[in-house]
């Protein structure tokens, strides 16, 4: 027989939403409601193994939880009569309102004041009944991370005083769309997981389906809810068919349709019908579901109604022009209106930063290029896609697709080979090598390492750089530009074969004679090409500069950007004097800032100081492996700050930590119970006071 713990777990998961929702009605605080539900669970764990599981375990848990809630209200000095009134209300509550309570709970756990991952975690916790450990495993993060997300979410909801009520009519659309987003996110997290060693990730699909079906029952008048359910049911119906025996992905048109789950497809169709009955303008979920329905209705891949799917994608792209939708639209258009039409759409996405590392963009382009007979380009795109794929099975699949395309070996050195040689030169120091390596790795990933160097154009490089580092700080941008210019200059002038320090393997790749081929190939590209982006990029370039000789070849489209430098320079004397004299700064901050300035130590080292390791006489303290020393300014302030404390962190947080974020003992003051001041908090306070960062207190 199953043991009691497993039974309790099952009962709690089945009943969690109802219990927490009922408690919310009493205490109006998600955090508290969840804690009280937890108390009831603990009571069950204590009593059931000895006394036996009660006849109706769900009702037992509910009774205990409600009793605790009423006790809590009494204790918290609320008017006693109010508590009794609550208790009376509870007993009279009709089952219909219990259902509404669950719906209210969903709206709260998906409330827009919370960051997305907090909504997801809280919904799985209070509506799905999953433990923090289970959520952590499903999302591949650690349990403390989930515990922290949950604690922050509950605090945020309490601080925002979110009422336990259904949204008002004009607030409903955004609130509902937040709930739908959370459910679909949970579904996709499970669906995109590789068929797995850990079943909890695929189990997220089931969790999302349950939440969706529950929501459809609670809010039956909303078309988008049924649309989402239809979408998830139909996608889930293909779960078994979409991976092969080795875990490799099988594309929709190659799937064995006999393995599609007809039961789920039928449920999907039913949900879709309900969405249609409700009518109105189709929203994004209804449109996506309609696309899924088209695929599910096709008995063979050839039967697929691509014209209709492309039209649905056109509508969806108008509503939600996200890069992923655009990419899928390119696929559909490629099927319905020919590969060139699809490729035109896909090419427009090449400069989208959101897709720069997304393997399916080159994957889709490779497919379209292959159908257009552009074999060389197709092959390179598949190789690039294989390099970007994060899932090994998918990478192998893309590599196989690349290998299936036979192309006459292009003459000349490839970008990857050239980059390897460039980096293998002897005269590079380690830091430069690392920096150049980063730049060139990214460049290879963006345009494909197998691209013949001779075919690398200035436009493509400029495009790739803008996508990769367009919004980086000027310094970062300039570092990459320098690396590419240096590479370009090397490639266009140096004859790499003789005298190169290339490793034997690389040397043989650049066979003698190739150098001249590359040289001549590059020669035609060398000058600034008319009509290309050879001129400085608007608003970004600072003119040619002294290194204009390097601005030939494929680096021609890149300009340096002005660096301000103000963010990192140390604060000057006048700034500091002003800072020390400010009256609105608390003692702790004054001491910390003085100490940082006088010691020149890192922020972490200073925050890591403990009272017992200070030598105030010698004006120094041990932190980690080193010492932090100070001068008279700090020495004056320290005794006041320590106020007789003898142990624990020198710099303490303002408040005692909550139970969910209890720091290690070494980071807690034994006298006050407060934790060590965090870097983030210290930085935040400094930023609030001065608008700049703590690093700038450090003298040069």
């Amino acid at each position: 027989m199953t043991d009691v713990a497993a039974r309790i777990d099952a009962v709690v998961k089945l009943e969690s939403a109802r219990i927490v929702a009922a408690l919310m009605r009493i205490v109006h605080d998600v955090g508290l409601a969840e804690e009280l539900a937890q108390d009831a669970l603990v009571a069950a764990l204590e009593q059931w193994p000895a006394a036996g599981v009660p006849e109706n375990p769900g009702a037992w848990l509910m009774t205990i939880a409600k009793r605790r809630a009423v006790d809590h209200i009494r204790r918290s000095r609320l008017h006693e009569r109010k508590a009794e009134q609550h208790a009376r209300e509870l007993d009279q509550a009709a089952p219909a309102s219990e259902r509404d309570d669950v719906l209210r709970l969903m709206f709260i756990s998906c409330h827009p004041v919370l960051p997305t991952e907090a909504r997801v975690a809280l919904t799985l916790r209070v509506v799905g009944g999953l433990t923090a450990a289970e959520i952590a495993r499903a999302f591949l993060v650690t349990e403390p991370v989930v515990a922290r997300r949950l604690a922050t979410a509950k605090r945020t909801l309490a601080e925002a005083r979110v009422p336990f009520a259904l949204p008002e009519a004009d607030d409903l659309p955004p609130r509902l769309s937040s709930v739908l987003e959370v459910i679909y996110l949970i579904f996709n997290e499970g669906y995109s997981a590789s068929s797995g060693d850990d079943l909890i990730r695929p189990a997220l699909c089931l969790e999302a389906l349950r939440l969706g079906r529950l929501l459809a029952d609670l809010a039956p008048g909303e078309g988008e809810v049924h649309g989402l359910v239809a979408l998830m049911e139909i996608q889930a119906s293909r779960a078994a068919a979409r991976t092969g025996p080795a875990g490799e992905p099988i594309q929709l048109h190659e799937q064995n349709r006999g393995r599609w789950d007809q039961l789920l497809i039928r449920r999907g169709f039913t949900a879709m019908l309900r969405a249609r009955e409700i009518g109105g303008t189709p929203g994004p979920y209804v449109l996506q579901a309609a696309i899924a329905v088209c695929h599910a209705q096709a008995h063979t891949a050839q039967d697929t109604d691509w014209a209709r799917i492309a039209a649905l994608y056109d509508a969806l792209a108008r509503l939600r022009p996200t890069p992923i939708v655009q990419l899928n639209r390119a696929v559909a258009v490629g099927m319905a209106r020919g590969p060139q039409a699809g490729l035109d759409l896909a090419d427009a996405l090449l400069t989208d930063p959101a897709l720069r590392d997304y393997h399916l963009l080159p994957g889709v382009r490779g497919d379209l290029l292959a159908r257009l007979g552009r074999a060389g380009e197709a092959r390179r795109e598949f190789e690039r896609a294989a390099g970007l794929a994060r899932n090994a099975a998918e990478g192998a699949f893309l590599r196989r697709r690349a290998d299936e395309i036979t192309v006459a070996e292009a003459a000349g050195r490839t970008l990857g080979e050239a980059a390897a040689e460039f980096l293998a030169r002897e005269n590079l120091d380690a830091a430069t090598l690392r920096s150049y390596g980063q730049t060139l790795t990214r460049l290879c990933r963006a345009v494909g390492a197998r691209l013949p160097l001779a075919e690398l154009t200035a436009e493509r490089v400029a495009e790739a750089c803008a996508t990769a580092w367009g919004d980086a700080a000027p310094r970062t941008w300039n570092r990459h530009v320098s690396a590419i210019r240096s590479f370009s200059a090397w490639a266009s002038t140096a004859d790499p074969a003789p005298g190169s320090a290339a490793a034997p393997g690389l040397g043989s790749a650049a066979a003698p004679g190739l150098g001249s081929t590359v040289g001549s190939g590059l020669g035609s590209e060398a000058g600034p090409r008319p009509g290309s982006e050879a001129g400085p990029r608007p608003g970004s370039a600072v003119g040619l500069g002294p290194d204009s000789a390097a601005r030939v070849g494929f680096a021609a489209g890149l300009g340096r950007r002005p660096e301000t430098g103000a963010r990192t320079a140390p604060l000057g004397g006048p700034d500091l004097d002003g800072l020390w004299e400010r009256a609105d700064v608390a003692l702790r901050e004054r001491t910390l800032w003085r100490l940082l300035h006088e010691s020149g130590a890192t922020v972490r080292a200073v925050l890591g100081l403990n009272v017992e390791d200070l030598d105030q006489e010698d004006r120094r303290g041990r932190s980690g492996d080193g010492f932090v020393s100070w001068r008279s300014g700090t020495a004056r302030l320290l005794p006041e700050l320590l106020a007789g404390r003898t142990r624990g962190p020198v710099f303490l947080a303002d408040r005692r930590p909550g139970p969910a974020r209890m720091p290690a003992e070494a980071d807690r003051c034994p006298e006050t119970g407060r934790g060590r001041l965090s870097y983030e908090r210290a930085e935040y306070l400094f930023k609030q006071a001065t608008g700049t960062t703590l690093h700038r207190l450090k003298p040069r």
Partner: protein, 107 residues
């Protein structure tokens, strides 16, 4: 995971109350997204057996009617323990008798 819950015929007559409670139970499980399909089965039925090339079709009823399945429910749950828990609730409603639950694989 999916489980098929099969119940054997019961001697007890079904009353109004049982129907009402069952209706409520089914409604609740459907709303929670747990119950995928459910139904009752005719008594007896037709038996088709094959031995070598020979296929025999026999009409019911059969002598071992007690062991036959009278109704089924296909549920989608997180664990075997949840399937058992739901079956416990079902048994509490229908009274004396027996159900068997087995995990469903595929398609």
């Amino acid at each position: 995971m999916r489980y098929l819950m099969m119940s054997k015929p019961s001697d007890q007559p079904a009353d109004e109350n049982l129907y009402a409670e069952m209706g409520k139970f089914i409604e609740e499980l459907t709303a929670a997204g747990v119950l995928l399909a459910t139904g009752g089965l005719e008594a007896g039925g037709v038996r088709v057996t094959s031995v070598g090339d020979e296929i025999t079709v026999t009409d019911g009823p059969f002598t071992e009617a007690k062991e036959a399945v009278a109704g089924f429910a296909l549920v989608e749950v997180r664990s075997r323990a949840e399937a058992i828990e739901l079956t416990r609730r079902f048994r509490r409603i229908v009274g004396d008798g027996e159900s068997v639950i087995q995990e469903v694989f595929g398609p």
